[in-house]
């Protein structure tokens, strides 16, 4: 850990908040991607299972 001197709180808080926002954004995007894939797969499976009209 580098010696951040009297600005340690300033620098660390900037890094912690920014990395938390980035991780949150990535996690939300991945979760939404999985949700959309599952939803489309469910609808397509239902369509394929339905008897032809």
């Amino acid at each position: 850990m580098p010696d951040l001197g009297k600005y340690a709180d300033t620098v660390l808080s900037a890094y912690v908040i920014s990395i938390a926002i980035l991780i949150g954004l990535v996690a939300l995007s991945v979760w939404q991607s999985r949700q959309s894939r599952a939803r489309l797969a469910q609808i397509e499976a239902r369509r394929n299972a339905a008897p032809p009209r």
């Binding site: 580098p2 001197g5 300033t10 620098v11 890094y15 908040i17 949150g24 954004l25 959309s36 894939r37």
Partner: protein, 242 residues
């Protein structure tokens, strides 16, 4: 081969599916190298002390906050002129990423400003135009969410994007023509004389590359989600009609 081939959702899904893992890995690698290099292996600045390490987050996020809006502007113009749905969905997908970048730039700027300027916030031209850009991102996302018809939503958000681009450009150039503000000039420039010292410059470039690639990876991922959701709602509408 034409770029307009990617306006076809199937073609876009195929190509983005191949690109996404590569872009994601490169983005993660550049972010780790840039931030670790900047945080652990660069010296303190003679005036700013260790707060100079915030530059590796603040400058790339601010740069991406503006350029994300510019990307949305181009995608919105393509939608308005050529009516390609993928471009409208790409603009929609980019908005939350741009919002997060703007938020990081505002927060890291405020945290840095307190010990350096003696205040978290000042109504400086660049800070104020960035805050307005942040509000435009919120408004853009709210407009997409508020309108049920996707084509109408794409039309109206595209117009909002055109208006907001004034503030995106203002955020970029405010420091050049408004001299009464607190915010210093650009940390990076094509003119070498204006750049930060090399010891800070190279890790900053790696960090910027990481943020650019992260933006690209997230936009690809989120556009793919939007395309799937659009197809799902089209299939449901077809089921209801038949």
């Amino acid at each position: 081969m034409s770029i307009w081939e990617y306006a076809n959702p199937t073609r876009f899904m195929q190509t983005s599916g191949k690109l996404l893992p590569l872009v994601s890995v490169l983005s993660f690698a550049c972010l780790i190298v840039g931030l670790v290099w900047g945080f652990f292996f660069t010296p303190d600045d003679y005036r700013q002390g260790s707060t100079v390490k915030i530059i590796y987050l603040h400058v790339p996020s601010a740069l991406m906050a503006i350029n994300a809006w510019m990307m949305m502007l181009v995608a919105s113009l393509i939608w308005l002129v050529r009516r390609h749905h993928v471009s409208a969905l790409a603009a929609k997908a980019a908005a939350p990423v741009g919002l997060a970048m703007t938020l990081i730039a505002l927060i890291t700027g405020a945290i840095w400003g307190e010990p350096m300027w003696g205040t978290y916030w000042a109504w400086d031209p660049r800070l104020t135009s960035f805050l307005i850009l942040f509000l435009f991102y919120l408004g853009y996302m709210a407009l997409w969410a508020a309108i049920e018809n996707p084509d109408t939503a794409a039309d109206l958000t595209s117009i909002l994007c055109l208006v907001g681009s004034v503030f995106a450009l203002l955020s970029r150039y405010a420091v050049n023509f408004w001299n009464q503000g607190l915010h210093q000039g650009a940390s990076l420039s094509l003119d070498k004389e204006e750049n930060v010292a090399d010891v800070f410059y190279f890790p900053l470039l790696v960090s910027i590359a990481g943020f650019v690639l992260l933006f690209l990876a997230l936009v690809l991922l989120r556009t793919r989600s939007e395309i799937r959701l659009r197809r799902a709602s089209a299939l449901i509408s077809r089921e209801r009609l038949s």
